[in-house]
Symmetry: C2
Subunit: 371 residues, 2 copies
Amino acid sequence: MAPWKAARVGDALDQIDTPALILDLDAFERNVQLLQDAMSSTGVRLRPHAKSHKCPEIALRQIKAGAVGICCQKVSEAAVFVAAGVPDILITNQVIGEQKIMHALDLAQQARIGILVDHADNVSAFARASAERQVSIDLYIEVDVGMGRCGTTSIEQTVELARQIDQAPYLNFMGLQCYHGSAQHYRHPQDRQSAIAAVCAKAAEAKAAIEKVGIAVERITGAGTGSVMLEGTSTIFNEVQAGSYILMDRDYAKNQHDASDLPFEHALFIKTAILSHPTLGRAVVDAGLKASSVDSGMPLVWQRTDASYLKASDEHGVLELTADSPLKLGDSIMLIPGHCDPTVNLYDEMICVRGNAVEAIWPIAARGALL
Amino acid sequence: MAPWKAARVGDALDQIDTPALILDLDAFERNVQLLQDAMSSTGVRLRPHAKSHKCPEIALRQIKAGAVGICCQKVSEAAVFVAAGVPDILITNQVIGEQKIMHALDLAQQARIGILVDHADNVSAFARASAERQVSIDLYIEVDVGMGRCGTTSIEQTVELARQIDQAPYLNFMGLQCYHGSAQHYRHPQDRQSAIAAVCAKAAEAKAAIEKVGIAVERITGAGTGSVMLEGTSTIFNEVQAGSYILMDRDYAKNQHDASDLPFEHALFIKTAILSHPTLGRAVVDAGLKASSVDSGMPLVWQRTDASYLKASDEHGVLELTADSPLKLGDSIMLIPGHCDPTVNLYDEMICVRGNAVEAIWPIAARGALL
C-alpha cells in the first residue's frame, strides 16, 4: 500500500489526495436507516451483506441500527468481522475443503456462524468435522431460484440434504438461501417483480416439501439491493441480505424504479484529479481501472454535464469534455464507480466525509480476504 | 486482508488454499532472461515496468539480471521500491499537485527519479519546487505517438517544453517518452509493426526538432510487451519498458506472433477450487472478479479441454464443463488471468512455486499504492 495517506481527519474535501475512496456519511446514514425502517415495519430481519463494504465500522453501525448480523462471502472475510466484534455472520457461500471447514468451525466457537451447502459430500464433511470437534454450526441449503450459479436444482435433492443435515448432531438446519443475483440488475421493475415472484414460488415449494418430512424451516433468506422490497414484502422471506444499498453504484442507478422501491442515494465516490489535458475535448484523470472496477461499466462523472468518463486503462481514465468545459490541469472531480463491491476492494481505507470535512477514516479491513 | 495465509514455504502445490496467486519461478526466470538477453545484444537499456508486478523481489531480480532500473506509474508506488533499495525509477506518468510533487522530490533525494511532463504549468511547478528545495530530478516529455491519451500533440509544444525544462536549474531534461499502449494489443504482427514504425517516425522528428534548438535528447524510451522487439531493434529507442513479459496473461496470449517476437511463457496463475457442481455441465469455482480482473476478458482454464471459464461475479466463476469432465467438488484448477496488472493488484502475496513446491512467498508490497 501507499506509504502515506490520502487524507487526515479534519482535512477539507479539497485537501484529499487523489485517487481516493470517499464515503458521504450523511447519504450513507440515510441509506442505512431507510432500509432498516422499511424492514422493521414488515418484521423481516435485515442481515446486510458485508462483501460490498468489507468494513467493520460499517457493519457495527448497521447492527446498531437494527440489523441482526451480517453476511460475508468468504470464511477469511468473516474472520475479520468476528475479530471486530460482529456476533452473527452468515457466509453466503459453499465452504469446501478441510482447511476452510476448520477455519469456519474455529469461527463458530467465537460467534454464530452459518454457511451454505448444495452438495451431500460437503454436508458429510461438515457433519464429520463438527462432530469430531463438538462445535455447532448453522447450515442453510442454497436453492437455485433462477440464477443458474450454485444451489440445488431439484426438490428431491433439497429435501435429501435437509434430512442429511437434520441427522447430524452438530449441524443446525436453519433454512434456505434463495438469492437471485442476476434479477438485481434487471432494468425494468416488472422484470424484477416477475423474477422474484418465481423465486418466492420456488422457495415456498422447497419449504413445504422439507416441512412435509417433519423438518422445520426457520429461515428463508436472500435478496439484494435491486429487489429487496420484493422479497421483504413477500411474506415468504423472513430475512433479506442487501449490501450495496448503503453505497449505491452506477450500475444500480441504471435500474428503473417504481413507487415500491426505496430511494437509496449514492454515498460512495472516487475523488480523482486531471493529470493531463492534451486537447480541448480530452482530459485524463488519475483514476483508472485499479481505482474503479470497470467490470460493470465505466464510472459516472458526478454532477457535471461537461465531462464524461470514456475509457479506463490501469492508472488512467480518459474524459471527453465539452468545448466550454472549465476543467483544467489539477482540478478534481468525483466519480460514481460502475460497481461498488470490487471498487471498495481496491482500497485500504474509506475516507468518510461530512459536508466539506473529513470526519473519520475507516479501514477496509477485509479487503483482499479471498480465502 | 485474510487473517491467515494461503500457503507456507515448503508446501506442495496441492496444499495451497484457494484462490491464490501463483508465480511459476522457472517460467518467470526464463522470461526475465529472454528479454534481458535480447536487449543486451542490441545495446538497448531495459527498464521493466513494475506496475505489472508491484513486487520489490521481482524488481531486484530484474536489475540483477541487467535492467537499468524500473518504471512505476505512481509516486507512492515508486516510494515502495525506493524503500526496498531500487536505485533508479522512472515514473511514467504526470505528477500533478503540490503534495505529489513534494513526495517525488523527497524520493529524488534518495534515488534517481524521473517523471513525465506534457504541460507547461506542470513544468513550472516542478521548476519552482525543485529550485526551492535544491533537489534535482529527471524530466521526460511525453509525446502522444498515437495512443490518444496523455502527451504533447505538436512538435512546437514539445520543443517549447524542452526549452522550459532546459532553463530550469534543477530539472534535468532527459528525453522523450514515446509509448503506444493500444498497439501492444493489436492482434496482427503487421498492425503492430506499422503502428510502431509511425511511433518511431514521430519520436525521431521530435528529437530532431529539439536538437535543432541546441538541446540534447539523451533518451527515447517506451515500448511494452506486445511490441518490445520493434522498439528494441528500431535504432530510435535506446530504452524499453515492457512489464507484463515476466508474467504474461490471456490477453497478451491472443496476439499473433511472427519470428521477431520473443516466446514469453505464462508464469502467473490463479489456483482456484470447485465449490459447487450443480449440474453435469456446470461447476462454480471460488475465483471471481475479486480474484482475477475481467477488464480484458475472462481468465483461461490452463491446460484443460474439459472446462472453460464462462462468467465471473464478485466471488464466483462459472465453468462450462464437457459431459465427460472428471472435475468434482473440491478439485482445483489453474487459471491464466485475462489481464495480469490489475489481477496482481488484488493480492497481498505471490506464492512462488518451483515444480510442485512453494519455494518463496513474495509480498506485493506496492499493491494498492494509488497516490
